[in-house]
């Protein structure tokens, strides 16, 4: 497959230095790796209210299944062990201990959620186990001095909010901003990011904030309250379902602010179209991956490869689900790291490779966005691009922006 060769070419080009010394040395392993397999541990909410994210877990397993079918990584099969933590941090601690102490995994990869990952960060760092490509956009995963074994993956929510703030400051300097956010770390990160991005203008520009809980059936009351604040810019930091509800309600009550939605909730098929084409036209967002339901990617070879993989290996996940692209891309990143680690599959070496990625490009990331890390930079993806919805598909505008938050 073309994209696989594409990745390999870039890895070789980017990582010759890292690989050079280990090619001719006998294989070295930490617990969890051997001549025949590499054990990867993962926690995911397969039950409970956050179970919508389980599509990521399924996609990860599906991608590794494909890699195994293609011969594995340097001849080793990936043994992907993913367990349910129901998004409850005490449960995550227990499950990760089981993965480490009973299942003897090499690392914990892409565990989902900020509180779950905060709960296990201390344990994993104390035991020198990689907590790699954390499945959360909080700002905490780029702290190599204090937590050298923990690395994030996606652009942080704070970075994204800074990009929105920058846009508003540059283009709408007199704006009055309202924020609708989910009442947890995810939503609050956006609020705080907006505030810090606007700097000393924050107090004047942010005129209202309203939160919602995931148990709230609608956000009607919040939308009405925000409209009453007189704001003309609305940032909705919500998960897909609530973004859809918000976009629709805002239109229905006759409010027409400049709208921003966060990158998690930009799916054409799951968010924009259900909200209504005319109601969601004009909404802006920032993103870094390709939306599988966006018409503009339909004819590209990368999308077709992704779709073929979905049909064959990941049939239980919807083809419009952006989480499948997310899982696909994070899995590819791990595969790239493991391949580049060669026969030295010690935890230290894997972290070294992970923290020396250079312009790694993945097929389902937006063109121009690449992955780079360094010993003092544990934020693999820092770039995003602004885009505007025209009722049918997203149109990017401006340049790829490098974020500065987190």
């Amino acid at each position: 497959m073309a994209f696989r060769r594409h990745i390999l070419a870039l890895i070789v080009a980017g990582n010759l230095a890292a690989m050079g010394n280990s090619i001719c040395v006998a294989a070295e392993y930490s617990t969890g790796a051997s001549d025949t397999e590499i054990k990867i541990g993962n926690t995911m909410p397969y039950s409970g209210p956050a179970s919508g994210y389980s599509a990521i877990g399924k996609s990860l397993a599906a991608y590794f299944a494909m890699i195994n079918d293609q011969g594995g990584i340097n001849g080793r099969k990936i043994n992907f062990i993913s367990r349910d933590d129901a998004y409850s941090p005490p449960k995550t601690v227990e499950v990760v201990r089981k993965l480490v102490e009973e299942d003897q995994v090499l690392m914990v990869f892409q565990s989902l959620g900020t509180p779950p990952n905060l709960a296990i960060r201390g344990y994993l760092n104390d035991n020198k186990i990689p907590q790699l490509f954390v499945g959360s956009g909080a700002d905490q995963w780029n702290d190599p001095k204090r937590y050298p074994w923990t690395m994030g993956w996606q652009p942080s929510y704070g970075t994204e909010a800074h990009i929105f703030a920058r846009y508003v400051l540059d283009n709408l300097p007199d704006a009055k901003i309202a924020v609708l956010y989910q009442n947890d770390d995810f939503g609050k990160n956006y609020v705080n990011g907006m505030r810090s991005g606007l700097g000393d203008k924050a107090g004047k520009m942010i005129v209202a904030t309203q939160s919602y809980e995931t148990t709230d059936p609608t956000v009607d009351s919040q939308a009405a309250a925000l409209q009453a604040s007189g704001a003309d810019v609305l940032l909705t930091a919500a998960i897909p379902k609530f973004t859809t509800l918000a976009i629709r309600k805002v239109y229905d009550i006759g409010w027409r602010p400049t709208q921003f939605v966060n990158s998690v909730s930009t799916s054409v098929g799951s968010v924009m179209k259900p909200a209504g084409a005319e109601k969601s036209a004009g909404v802006m967002s920032a993103t870094y991956t390709k939306d599988p339901s966006d018409p503009r990617w339909q004819d590209t070879p990368e999308y077709k490869d992704w779709l073929a993989w979905m049909m064959k290996y990941n049939p239980s996940v919807n083809v419009t689900d952006a989480l499948a692209v997310y899982g696909y891309s994070t899995a590819q990143t791990l595969v790239a790291v493991l391949k580049a680690s060669g026969d030295n599959l010690t935890r230290e070496h894997v972290m070294e490779v992970a923290s020396s990625l250079h312009d790694l490009s993945l097929p389902m990331l937006l063109p121009g966005i690449t992955i780079s890390t360094a010993a003092d930079d544990y934020a693999p993806i820092k770039q995003m691009q602004l885009q505007k919805f025209d009722g049918n598909s997203w149109k990017v505008f401006g340049d790829v922006i490098k974020g500065s938050g987190g």
Binding site: S47, P49, S51, G52, S54, A55, N183, Q210, S211, E213, T214, T215, D216, P217, T218, D220, S221, Q222, A224, A225, Q227, A228, P240, K241, T244, L245, D252, I253, G254, S270, K273, P274, S316, V317, N318, T320, D321
Partner: protein, 289 residues
């Protein structure tokens, strides 16, 4: 002022959703003296059945009617098969069984239909009314809820089966002596509740979007509404649901700490209950020695 009206109206729209599920809760409580924690998930499952039928090409109303029939049968089967073994067991056992049902329905729906949020067609058009304070869809939800209330009221008051059901719930032994098949009454009660739930789900899915966790939050508010109105009173269920919807909206708007909306809304409901411990329209439980 406009904001106040807006919040009240959207509160009524949300409240109608809670009211419709509350009606199902009251139905089961009156028929079997049990709070069915699985009510929301059963309604959600019925809605998925309707969604499957609509996606298969059936016209909406036909799909709806088939769903109602399936839900009625399903509700009866659940009562006879799942609830019957714990009918004479301590109440807590039955409560745990309904909790188990909740988990089963939620999980199976997620497994069959995945957790992707789906669109659901609405029989009502989506046009603004009262100067954008509400949409015709919201009015549709309120209308259907009120219709169900009237039908339920008439059923219990004026039909022989309704009377038999009330008798079976109040005094099964005497009812049996009068020739009432108590087991069948219980099953019918659950069947009807399932029908109410299915109607609620189908009306609500266009508004809330269909996913396996659609009814989670609704159930909590419906429970509060049903109790606020009095767990034995269908009128109370509707009034309670509407009050909960409006309260929740007003609290969210006018409370400085909007993040405490749920807390304060519940605190207010409990405050009302302190003065009326059996709900606004509920009948007091008289204990005889």
């Amino acid at each position: 002022m406009h904001q106040l009206l807006q919040q009240i109206f959207s509160g009524l729209a949300a409240g109608a959703i809670y009211a419709s599920v509350a009606l199902a809760l009251v139905m089961i409580y009156r028929a079997t003296d049990l709070v069915n924690f699985a009510q929301g998930e059963m309604a959600m499952f019925s809605t998925y059945i309707a969604w499957t039928l609509v996606n298969a090409g059936l016209p909406f109303w036909l799909a709806f009617l088939i769903t109602l029939a399936v839900s009625f049968a399903g509700g009866m089967v659940i009562e006879r098969v799942v609830i019957r073994p714990v009918e004479n067991a301590p109440v807590l056992a039955a409560v745990v069984v309904t909790i188990g049902l909740l988990l089963i329905f939620n999980s199976v729906a997620g497994w069959i239909y995945s957790y992707t949020v789906q669109d659901f067609p609405s029989p009502f058009p989506d046009r603004p009314v009262f100067g954008a304070l509400m949409t015709t869809r919201d009015l549709g939800v309120i209308g259907v809820t009120l219709l169900m209330l009237v039908l339920l009221f008439a059923f219990f008051r004026f039909t022989p089966i309704g009377l038999a059901m009330r008798a079976a719930a109040q005094n099964p032994t005497s009812a049996r002596l009068c020739g009432i098949r108590v087991g069948r009454m219980l099953a019918i009660g659950w069947g009807l509740a399932a029908v109410i739930g299915a109607t609620a789900g189908v009306m609500v899915a266009p508004v809330l979007f269909l996913d396996p966790n659609m009814m989670g939050g609704v159930l909590i508010y419906a429970f509060a509404g049903a109790l606020l109105g009095g767990i034995t009173s269908p009128v109370g269920a509707v009034v309670g649901g509407l009050i909960v919807g409006v309260t929740e909206n007003l609290v969210g708007t006018y409370l400085i700490a909007s993040q405490l909306k749920l807390t304060v809304a519940f605190a207010l409901i409990i405050l009302v209950l302190v003065f009326r411990p059996n709900g606004l329209f509920g009948t007091a439980i008289i204990r005889r020695v």
